[in-house]
Amino acid sequence: MMRIIDFKRLKSLSSSVDFSPHQLIQRCSVSGTSKGKAKVKGGQTLKRSKVSTKKGKTTEPTEKPKGRRTSEYEKMVRDCLDASAPVRHLKPKEIAREAEREKMGLISKERAKEIEMMKKKKSESESGSPAIMGTPGLDLITLGLVDAEKIPKYELTVEDGRRLAKEYSRVLMRKHRARQAAESTLLRLKKEAIEALPENLKGAALVPDLTPFPVNRFMATLTPPIEGHFEKINEAARKSSVKEKLR
């Protein structure tokens, strides 16, 4: 009786086990000794459970014509990721080491790049053209938003930066306070006007107007709208989309 029961148990156990690769992962070493433990890395599938894929063969013939484009792209990506930062982070030990090496006459690559950059900077600052901010055609100076002559002169130093920041803050705060004062006068005038209305009209005036704002109110932009430009763009877009559909 005991043997029959044992058999049944064994059969149920075997039927429940699926032979999937993850079941064959060796989680721990079996032997009681420390020998051989180094070779077992946790969670690695055993070699006999690997299924060889056929994907490697199909990608080979298509690699060659794409090769140049991918390599250009890869090159650009690598350049971006390795882009040089103008200031290197050096610990004090490293600074001391570099200074000593320079005395001996050995200059590292990064130090050489730094020296080149300093030379370039000097030549640029001597030429002295104002730096252009933003896209060349649409920046604020060429558009006439700022008078280039009235900009105060400054060097790129900390004291000048602080002075400019103080003036900036002063100007903006003055404007802000003026605007707040003007808005509160507006509100006061409105309240006085409502008070001055006769009784029958006052009730109607006090009802808040909750109809939604018009959605097509024009928002002020950098340059004025060009007549007919919008229709031209729409025409071009429609034509190009129609051509694609006919194909």
Binding site: L138, V146, E167, L172, T185, E192, L197, D209, R217, P224
Partner: protein, 232 residues
């Protein structure tokens, strides 16, 4: 709250005199404004600071390769008409000082003024005034103002009246110098131009679209009131 109410009532008593509100003529006038089309000029100090902070930060920024930065200039197949020459901010109407066109001071607000025989003015002489209408028995004063604007412009599809309440009032008492008819109360309603460039202004001899400074020239006596009511 109580203090403000008492001061208000005191000021009202001072201006009104006796409460003869029934015999006063009430006029609803409209301040019709066109909002700025272009952003206003930037103070050079503000620009200097922005430029300084940009250049200071630029010193510490990584330099990415140029062809990566030029990728944004690449144009797709169908985009051949996206690049454009920006229109000038100072238009022809600015150079000709053509006050009737709406294309004049694009970075400021423009207000409409009419020149005709207005209500509260001495008879027979056309004066510069805002579009207005005497209040008869309509429902609200805002509807009266809408009628006033409609009679001048034609239809109200391109206007937006801001709120039900007036934004200011003017009390005109008859003086010895000017022969006014009766004491007059003028309530101003604010409305804005929506989505047009031109208007057909009828029923008046002349009309102008003026900025705030020019507006103060047209009304020398009421200059400080208008200064308070109109911000820019």
């Amino acid at each position: 709250m109580q203090r403000s109410a008492t001061t208000l009532s005191r000021s009202l008593m001072a201006t009104r005199g006796f409460c003869t509100s029934n015999s006063d003529k009430i006029v609803a006038s409209v301040l019709f404004e066109r909002l700025p089309v272009v952003i206003p000029k930037i103070d050079p100090v503000v620009y200097a600071f922005q430029e300084f902070s940009f250049r200071w930060g630029q010193q510490y920024r990584r330099q990415y390769p140029d062809d990566f930065l030029k990728k944004s200039d690449a144009r797709g197949k169908g985009d051949y008409q996206i690049d454009y020459v920006p229109a000038p901010r100072v238009t022809e109407a600015d150079k000709n000082n053509d006050r009737r066109s709406l294309q004049r001071a694009l970075d400021r607000r423009l207000y409409l003024l009419l020149y005709s025989n207005a209500f509260g003015a001495p008879d027979g002489k056309p004066v510069w005034h805002f579009p207005e209408k005497v209040y008869e028995s309509e429902e609200t004063l805002r509807k009266c103002a809408e009628c006033a604007l409609q009679s001048v412009i034609g239809d109200l599809s391109h206007t937006y009246f801001v709120g039900n309440a007036p934004m200011g009032h003017m009390v005109m008492q008859p003086t010895e110098k000017v022969q006014d008819l009766q004491p007059l109360k003028r309530f101003f309603f604010k409305s804005q131009v929506i989505a047009t460039n031109k208007f057909n202004i009828e029923k008046c001899d002349d009309f102008v679209w003026v900025t705030k400074d020019e507006l103060l020239e047209y009304f020398p006596e009421q200059a400080d009131f208008l200064n308070k009511m109109i911000i820019s």
